[in-house]
Amino acid sequence: MKRNTLYLIGSFLLLTAFFSCKKMFDVDPNDPTQVRKADALKKPSDVQEVLNAGYDNISNLFNGRVQYYGELLSDNVIAPKSNNDYNEVYNRATIFFNTSIGGFYGDMYKIIYKANTVLDFIDIVPDFTASEKARMIAEAKFMRALGHFTAVRYFAQPYGFTTDNSHLGVPLRKNSLPEVTKRSTCKESYDFIIKDLTEAIPDLAEINLNNTNATKYAAKALLAKVYFQMNNFAGVITQVNDIVNSGKFGLADSVNIYDNSVGAKKEMIFYIKSANNDQKSGDIRGNYHDVGSNQPQIGVSANLYAEATSRTGDKRSVYYAPCVGGFRSLKFDSNYFNIPVLYLTDMLLMRAEALAETNTNLSVAITDVNSILSRAFGGISQNISFGSGAETIKVAARMERRLEMSMEGDRVQQLKRMGAKGELNVRIRNAPWNCNGLTLQFPASESTIKGFQMNPEGGCN
């Protein structure tokens, strides 16, 4: 009897011990599309893949939204046809429930997060050559700067809104940890962006390795734009000189850089690559383009149309047409096309204006403006004369800038910059350049942690 009992107890114990067999806890789901964090960053190519993910995020941000949200705040377009979220932007009354704007903002920080992942973990990855590692760090810093600069332009009042720029900028993300981050001041934001770009420039590649990667000149071009936004004209001139003098870029032959021509590519310093199968250009095209005289989601304002068609012989004027509800842009009618983020036309016009503002090397400024005008009119008919004064150059540079960069979201930034510079009566669709609603509202998600300061609303209508 006792013996039987022992056998039974023994077998009971064997059975329960069997439960704990190690294999029964092996529950790795083996999802081929996922890698555990601990196994994710083992070699240099893994880090490169994180950078690639960052470039993908950039491609999803600059393939439309940066452009049309900028335009919706400006005087270049009319009220969107039907989209409620876009209408809020146009009405300069975004609220924190605007999920489109929430996604727009979030995607900037997705770029930054990829950059910070690289910067935080690159040191644990073996087998790097020093130059490869330096390049990846530099690309990450470029990415982080691009993300922060875009955020500060759309979600904060511009540089110069307060004299010491102590007004609120955006949260600056310096690492990949989920740490509570308050908004930095505008000055701190710009300082950090400039620091990242300045540190990145020496280690970036001279040429674009993979069509889409950031180069030394991409960082310089971005830095030029940052300085321009700050009305730091000397900074603009230095950076653009470097780009032009490198001899790597030339103006596109066509007046429409979106025409998908081979010639368009030579002036692109940093761009979003679109192919027939990935349709990266679908978002920008989808919002500006429509068939025949149909009204697109976002149409052109009468004011821009008038300016674009005011001069005979302007080849660019054929890219505007009347349609139901007003006018539309025809720039984006190709099935797909690369989208410039940083390109030479922008650089030359910035330099021209910067030289005019500082009244230095005006002949270079005149050459810059005339190179654009010659292309637009197929000859020198509308060129400004050598010997033109700074004011003439500035007016011409600004007009060409509006026309060259129409629908790209640049216009509102320029108007804000002029306002911040102290130019009088800068108004955007009858609203002062610094009214609250011209900065987009942060999404509700930002207020999930106590202490985040949202933007004040209203005041533009």
């Binding site: 009992t5 039974l8 893994d46 993908d56 949260p171 999404p443 998600s445 106590k450």
Partner: protein, 1025 residues
Amino acid sequence: MNSKILHRFFVLFCLLFFSAQLKAQNTASIKGKMLDEKSEPMAFAIVRIDGTTTAQNTDADGNFEFKSLAAGNYVMVATYLGYQTNKQAVKLAAGEIKTIKFEMQTDNKNLNEVVVVGYGTQVRREVTGAVAKIGSKELTAIPLPSVEAALQGKAAGVQVSIGSGLAGAAAVVKIRGIASVSAGSDPLYVVDGIPISQDYFMQNATDKGNGGGKNNNPLATLNPDDIESIEILKDAAATAIYGSRGSNGVIIITTKRAKKKGLRFDLSIREGISTMASRPKMMNNKEYLQMLQEAFENDGGVGHPILPAGLSWDQAQATNTDWVKETTHIGFKQTYSLGTSYANKKLNLYVNTTHDNNSTYIIGDAYLRSTLRANLDYQLTKNVKLSYLGSYVNGINKRVDGGWGGGMGAAMSTALPIYPIKNSDGGWFTGAGPNNNPVFMRENKTQRTQQQRTLQGLVLDITPIKNLIFHLNGNYDYLDNTDDVYEDTALVKQTKGIAKRGATYTNNYNIIATASYSQTLKSDQKLSYLLGSEYQRTKSAFKYLEYNNILGPLYNTTPVDSNLKIGTNVLSKSISVFDSYFGRVNYSLKDKYFISLNGRADYSSTFGENYRWGFFPAIGAGWIISDEKFLKENKTLTFLKARASFGKSGNSNFGGSYPWWGRYKVNPNVYNGVPSRYVEIYENPDFHWETTTTFDIGFDFSLFSERITGVLEYYNKNTKDVILSVSVPNYYGFQSGNYAANVGKINNQGIEFATKLRVVDGNKLRFTIDFNIARNYNKVLDIGSYTEEAVSGGTNDTRIVEGQPVGTNYLVRFSRIDPTNGKPIYFDKQGNETYKWDPANRVPVGNIYPKAYGGWSNTLIYNHWELDVNFVYSIGGKIYDSSSKRQLGTYDSDNWNHTQDQFDRWQKPGDNAAYPILTQDKATYGSATPWINTDLWLKDASYMRLRSLSLYYSLTEKQLKKAKLASARIGFVSTNVFLFTKFRGLDPEVVRDFENATDRNTSPNITYLTPPQERTNSISIVIGF
């Protein structure tokens, strides 16, 4: 691993220790027989010698015999599930053989019933925890969409909201309030020993998600006819033995066994009809056009407004489609159930098959269920019993679009009365989009979900020595949920259709081993021990398929090569494992003082690496005060027991594989042809269970010899580490905007009272009232550094706000309508009136959970007639009538039909109306968005519902004999007979959707085109032979 070995040695040591205690030798005997009310022998009943642990099962003829007893006085106690405990004193001389007889009475008095607790059973008298029991009669009394609906109103503190009138609709069950936000707060369902998979979020084929609120309900696969009893474990003393999964309460489902010797058949048939319990009051064409015209003119329009779908004003006036009528009908329901039971000396067999055809009032909506169950116990040897429990269910849920997905939902919204069903040429009218012709959609879109489930269990009970039982139990639970959609040619506008399939497969198994031993320390002290371990592994996979150019749905069409497969199969998997060790010690002194200690240690793959093990202990104590001298003679208070318990249990109902793991997504080509990888899920090694510490004090009482019995209970539950799936700031840059972390604290406290009054308790006439009420106070104590924006109840505008209850409606307050211009006026955050609707002005304005809820049942029995009247009620909760913001809002471009309630609108200065001036322009209502959430749509959801009314007639003995039947009963049952409520919408009892756990917890009482409950009328016949 070392600690596990030590653990097992401890088990061994204990067992050896117990076996050494054995002793015997004497000569007298007590033998006897146990008979039921009809003098039939009762097999498998338990007879024990009071004050000792010596006990026996009766054999198939109801016989028992205790040999080798010493001379002396004994009290013999006979117990049987569902019968009153019976005691007899026996005086035994040396060598004497005494024969006694137990005549058992059915127990409708609950103090001595046997209740199932975790991993065992106990007599109610000895239970120290809070356990409610529901018997099989209540489960099969009325037609139900799913078994959990039967719990409604039956147990204090168990709140059940039936989701909708859809076939197979799930109910939300909350036990003692709500202590979770983003983790599931459903109780743990344990069927015959296995925690079953109960994932509500099984994706369907339409959109790989919830698809218009047509949720899959895995509990619909349980057959109420197979269930013997349901026990609901409520406090820590009862649930700690379920460790990290016990804190939401545990629902233990025990299936049936043969009750009597011999062969018996039970046949039951029910036939019924289903209609809408309440009907939406939509406008007809004239009314709609008149209101639209008024809105147009109010906005300054001249002439007629432009109508949607290119309809002319004249066409619209000539068309009047009642879409509610077109999408509903009288549904028919049938249930046929045939049970066979057989018992002899060694064998107990129960086999049942049930077929349901449950069509609801919605055309095309039905749940057809066929189930087969076989339970078998076989006494292999004197010491070894083998049991097999098996079931197979095939559920076919025929579906149509619903909710915001269309169908009857469209009839209440986007299907305007001015749209015809067919054009004048006889073709379908799809000019307003196919979805706005629900009849067209129903005819051209086939939707079917097949749920196949099998539960298989094998149990070995070994009694190697007296009082020591080894229990080995292996269970397997497989669920295949296959959702098919076929969109026909007219819908997809091509020569052949499109077939889609979303399928979820769940494999779930567990192995349990327990050893229990009971002993008598001295004559008046009993001690029993239980030690056990359990391993459970659940694996589920989701697959999605889509074929173009195919002739029919995938369940009856095999794709051939020419059928173009669209996209790739999506296959996601998740696996989780639990490994657990548990134990219990029960001590009783003089059969009136009871102490119980429980504990469980859980390891789970779902816990972060910093929290691999959780330990959940509890202590409970009971004192039968009425057995003390000072109360013993009291004729009024015939029974009084005080109970108190304190302990911890957990909730780890968050699903998924390693929810704490950080993961990178790898993608071979997202942009520019190069591979990428990025953090998809942020790692959280601290992710773990929620811990609830519960204090419970309760009194069980009986007055006037059990004419009045009842339970009064108070509990206080503090939950910490509450999981919040917070919307993290976008500046984190995470891929998903949500991040789950253990950050919250929630308190629930409440009072429960349940009583049974035997108003008349005669032989011929009996009248019984059951009443229960529960009041739960709920408060979110802490949500860390987060704000009320961090967790949102989906689209439903409920939030988690510190200092407020879970599920607080967080809305802009509506003030009044300006009588001068008819515009709505809101309050800003400070309470000042404003015309502007601004979400920045949202404040906590209500709570979706009721202040009190419960049930009230009346049973009147006269001779062979029985009348049951069951009410359920809910007091003080709010309902957010979310679709009203559109059905009673602007006549904007969404082109919704409106409800007739909007007739009460402002028309001219001085009007005092319920709703503002009609307009097509959202700006008139002060908003930039057309659909405005305000507390104007927040209503009192208090209700009392006559849940069921039943009348039965049982045949007399004489009639039975003549018909050669063992039993027979016919009945008429009506459900949802009427509703007392102030709510003017469809139904105050509603669950909008089961989109995710957060929505289920924080927004059940939101209605958005949700189909109202059904009213059923049926007749039933139950025959035993």
